[in-house]
């Protein structure tokens, strides 16, 4: 008679299993999912129990600082080690393991954030595109894994390889089902550092999420079977089991989608309460998990599909700030939960009470897991490749098989087992822990070298340029059209049908009308580009002390007016009738700014298009990046170091130059404003500059200076020079980049400004500044400028 130790608030109580039977955690009815089992005793939710958790988080933060370490050893492995250490300390102090990860805590508090984050950040296009493959692996693959493992162990048990164990076929099948499932937590943790290509990642990751439907069902079914006893199982029960699979899986997904719709509708209406918008997402996301759980459906599926469904609509409806908040907070929660899980996985191991060592069982389990996983993956992919447009290569299949990591979900499930029914529960726990350690640590460590060695295609790190995105979009439509014409019903056909349905119905219902307008994919990128540029422009202006740039010879005027003409009507208008400085407060609320090409551009034909290009080049950074890969660590991935650097350098450089030029006593900025194309051309056309003195000072070396300007310059030194142009001819608001382009040039170059077509030079103002020699050299020969490029520009203002 085995003696079981179990917990009670009063400490260890030894008792035989006859004395007290802890309540069954699983109902015997089919399809009813496990309810959490609340064990009294210390666990995560007691204040003292949070200590190891927070320790783990802090130590892991320290580890993050050392990338060399995390490059080799996956962070999850490190956390488990920390858990061991902590567990050792606690055990040493108390002589018993007082902390343990309770299944309830795990399933209700720690897992939901991770799953919600996974669903919300899921790259939908790839997910949906590969859904077939994912489902095949998730369902058939998991069933195969479970069955093969269970049967294999049973066979070995019958053969006596494990020695005397009090177990049976059903119990082993149950064990197989709980350990067969690929675990999302572990997959995220390990693949986070490896960055394989998106398709590979999404297949493994999607499988890990979607197999929950199968796992839940198998677990419940076998548990019920065990309770019923062997002889009572007949065909009816088995059929009920199969039906319960469909109920659980589809039911869970439907619940998720229902909540997704709910969230989208809500966000559509919360325009006025932006601060609470993020909270809705979290609350409703969690609700979807709970609802499915209480309806005995698959909670992970529900949460996943909720996130997958609502992400598009929610991200459109909410303000940018809310979107950022949601994303960041979700990742924080998910990260935290994952950390705690792994730490506790470590702590729970330091508990002699649960350790039962059975070499045969453990080794066989490990072996079978591997073998059957690979077998399953290869077999399924063989079939899938017949239907896939882009078949899987052998190497990818290898990685897919190797990426079948087991993790905390298995651990949680094994703890739910009832000791009365499962005599070998402790053995199962030990084995599960060992399997988890093995996969997370060993496979985690070796994953990266393996991937490198096999030369697996990695995630592409540079994002598509605008051209590529346009090309992509063209493709999609083209493929759909070809399918239509050639009468094929293909993948693209379905995508197109869904897309049309979405456009017709879903967008109207679930999306904010104003948000819908700017929804378009390509437009979004463009919008981001403009937005960032506008923001930096405004910041630039602030830095210079005023937003009233006065440049009257630029071809591209930033038209802040475009979106909120009326709002601006009452702004102080010192620049001229059309140009209004953008106030500081509006910076964050600029929804769209367009760098408008000057109207007259269209009229000036020859070479104008070309000018437009280069103007744009001045104002737009190279392909702004929008990354669609999933990364736990970095909430916003589209920050480009070069970009930031470029901005910084540009601003610094221009500051330097303006400071330098101010020092030299050259009233440079004034001249710049005088350089309106029109003026210049007029002047030149007349042969005699209208404003002689100014031109003269251009042509001369630094020595000759118009004292009037200098005086003004000095007095105005703290203020940006161009502000004084208020009274003069110019009302243009010019982008800062243009200013920067101008500033570095010494006076001798200025004459060249006019004839030179707008900046065929690259954006690099510092490059320009670096090569003043060349420009000076060529300045003179260019004396007579080519015919005016811009006609009728008026005052250089735009509409």
């Amino acid at each position: 008679m085995s003696v079981l130790y179990f917990w009670s608030p009063h400490g260890w109580v030894a008792g035989s299993h006859d004395d007290v039977c802890p309540p069954s955690s699983v109902d015997n009815r089919h399809g009813r999912v496990r309810t959490g089992r609340w064990r009294s005793g210390r666990d995560l939710t007691d204040p003292p129990g949070q200590l190891p958790g927070s320790c783990g988080v802090h130590v892991s933060a320290v580890f993050q600082l050392n990338p060399a370490l995390t490059n080799v050893f996956p962070e999850s492995g490190l956390l488990i080690c920390i858990g061991w250490v902590l567990g050792g300390i606690i055990y040493g102090a108390d002589m018993v393991q007082t902390f343990r990860l309770q299944p309830f805590t795990f399933f209700y508090y720690l897992l939901p954030p991770i799953v919600l984050d996974a669903g919300y950040s899921m790259p939908n296009k790839q997910f949906m595109g590969n859904l077939g493959a994912i489902l095949v692996h998730a369902v058939i693959g998991t069933v195969w894994n479970a069955a093969s493992l269970g049967l294999g162990l049973w066979g070995c048990w019958l053969g006596g390889a494990m020695g005397p164990l009090q177990t049976g076929l059903l119990q082993l099948l149950l064990f197989g089902s709980l350990i067969a499932a690929v675990d999302p937590v572990a997959v995220i943790a390990v693949f986070e550092e490896v960055h394989v290509n998106e398709v590979l990642y999404i297949i493994v990751f999607g499988e890990s999420l979607l197999n929950d439907g199968v796992t839940v069902v198998l677990f419940n079914v076998f548990d019920a079977f065990v309770s019923l006893g062997g002889p009572a199982i007949n065909a009816v029960e088995i059929i009920k089991g199969i039906i319960s699979f469909f109920v659980v899986a589809f039911g869970g997904s439907l619940v998720g989608i229902a909540f997704g719709i709910l969230i989208s509708l809500l966000t559509r209406l919360t325009k006025r309460t932006p601060t609470i918008e993020p909270a809705f997402i979290f609350v409703l996301g969690y609700l979807s998990y709970l609802t499915a759980e209480f309806l005995s459906l698959s909670a992970i599926l529900s949460c996943t599909f909720c996130g997958v469904f609502c992400q598009k609509y929610v991200n459109t409806n909410m303000s940018e700030r809310s979107v950022d908040t949601v994303r960041t907070t979700m990742k924080a929660f998910a990260n935290g939960a994952e950390t705690v899980i792994f730490v506790f996985l470590g702590i729970s191991a330091i508990d002699p009470a649960i350790w039962v060592w059975n070499t045969g069982f453990i080794l066989l389990t490990l072996l079978f897991i591997f073998i059957f996983r690979f077998m399953g993956v290869f077999a399924l992919n063989l079939i899938l490749n017949q239907f896939r447009l882009v078949p899987f290569g052998i190497i990818e299949q290898l990685v897919m098989g190797y990426g079948g990591l087991r993790g905390a979900v298995a651990y949680g499930l094994v703890f739910l087992l009832d000791e009365a029914k499962y005599k070998e529960k402790n053995l199962m726990i030990s084995t599960t822990l060992l399997v988890v350690y093995f996969t997370v640590m060993l496979q985690g460590i070796t994953m990266k070298p393996l991937v490198t060695w096999l030369k697996v295609k990695r995630a592409s790190t540079d994002e598509a340029s605008l051209t590529e995105k346009i090309a992509n979009r063209t493709f999609d439509h083209m493929l759909v059209a070809i399918e239509d014409i050639s009468g094929q019903i293909g993948h693209n056909y379905l995508w197109d049908k869904w897309h049309n349905f979405e456009e017709k119905w879903l967008f109207k219902i679930l999306m904010n009308p104003t948000a819908r307008k700017s929804r378009d994919y390509i437009f979004n990128i463009f919008h981001q580009l403009n937005l960032k540029d506008a923001m930096s422009y405004v910041q630039e202006g602030e830095r210079r002390g005023s937003l009233a740039f006065v440049r009257n010879d630029s071809k591209a005027d930033v038209d802040f007016n475009k979106q909120f003409g009326s709002d601006f009507a009452d702004m102080p208008d010192i620049m001229g009738p059309d140009h209004i400085p953008v106030p500081y407060t509006l910076r964050d609320s600029v929804p769209s700014v367009s760098l408008n090409m000057h109207e007259e551009n269209q009229k000036a034909r020859e070479g104008d298009d070309f000018n437009a290009h280069h103007l744009l080049q001045q104002h737009l950074y190279k392909g702004r990046k929008q990354r669609h890969t999933y990364s736990r660590k970095q909430p916003v991935i589209n920050r480009d170091e070069d970009e930031v650097q470029e901005i910084f350098q540009r601003t610094m450089r221009s500051r330097l130059e303006s400071f330098k030029s101010a020092k030299m006593g050259v009233a440079q900025p004034k001249k710049i404003t005088k350089h309106s194309k029109k003026d210049q051309t007029q002047k030149m056309a007349n042969g005699k500059p209208a404003d002689d003195s100014k031109i003269q000072s251009y042509g001369d070396e630094a020595g000759i200076v118009n004292p009037a300007y200098i005086a003004e310059m000095d007095s105005n030194e703290p203020m940006p020079p161009w502000v004084d142009e208020a009274g003069e001819d110019s009302g243009t608001v010019a982008p800062s980049q243009r200013a920067q382009l101008r500033l570095p040039w010494t006076p001798t170059n200025l004459r060249r400004l006019a004839p030179m077509r707008l900046s065929t030079h690259s954006n690099d103002s510092f490059l320009l500044a670096d090569s003043p020699a060349t420009q000076q050299g060529t300045a003179e020969p260019q004396a007579p400028p080519p015919p005016p490029l811009q006609d009728g520009r008026g005052r250089g203002t735009h509409m």
């Binding site: 592409s460 598509a464 590529e468 439509h477 094929q488 307008k517 390509i522 744009l616 190279k622």
Partner: protein
């Protein structure tokens, strides 16, 4: 339509199949489809294609239809537009969309890439001079975004400009002040889109099954 006719058709099909890498069944199916579209005539005209209702939703339908009648797609150095195409030409156009075989060699893969990209290029380059100018590109982007319905033409223009600029900067880098960027040549096109795995993404799976009855052209 006797045995001789079908015999000849068989032979033709075999020939076509060899030339365009479609399998015999695929050729058969596509022929049925062709017949359907062209109302059993020997040649397909623009109106036949334009009358497909599903294409209405497609923003770039005009370009696609034009692509079918563009001689450049039909032969290596064809120029100009034809008004009607025969089945063989229909197949030639569709053959651009075949997937790459699993065991394709590197050279062949590169060739395939070029072919497909050439097709795409031709679609954009409407006047056939080998260069996509800004106007043409604008046209393309406008059509592409036209279905979104809510973007005003200025923005569209600006987007096209920005894209053009990107191309210019990636392919030409810094340019001399007086240089003029005429447009995207095919080489540039190849360059910018080299990261796109076009040989594996740009294709339609031509079924061996007979789906002719499932989708009618009406």
């Amino acid at each position: 339509m006797g045995a001789s006719q079908s015999g000849r058709a068989e032979h033709e099909f075999q020939d076509l199949s060899d030339r365009t890498r479609f399998s015999l069944e695929q050729v058969n199916n596509l022929n049925k489809r062709f017949r359907q579209l062209s109302n059993n005539k020997e040649t397909l005209s623009r109106e036949d294609l334009a009358s497909l209702p599903d294409l209405d939703n497609n923003p770039i339908r005009l370009q696609i239809i034009n692509a079918f009648f563009d001689k450049r797609n039909l032969s290596q150095d064809g120029v100009g537009i034809v008004q009607e195409i025969s089945f063989e030409e229909f197949l030639m156009v569709l053959s651009h969309f075949q997937p790459a075989a699993m065991d394709i060699t590197e050279d062949n893969r590169e060739k395939l890439r070029r072919e497909k990209l050439r097709f795409l290029f031709n679609m954009h380059d409407t006047d056939g001079n080998g260069i996509i100018t800004l106007e043409e590109y604008r046209q393309a982007v406008e059509e592409l975004l036209s279905k979104a319905g809510t973007i005003d033409p200025d923005t569209v223009k600006a987007i096209a400009d920005a894209a053009m600029l990107e191309v210019a900067s990636t392919t030409r880098g810094k340019m001399e002040p007086d240089e003029f960027y005429e447009g995207i040549t095919f080489e540039h096109f190849l360059q910018i889109l080299k990261t796109l795995n076009i040989e594996s993404t740009m294709h339609v799976r031509f079924r061996n099954l007979d789906t002719g009855n499932m989708r009618c052209g009406k």
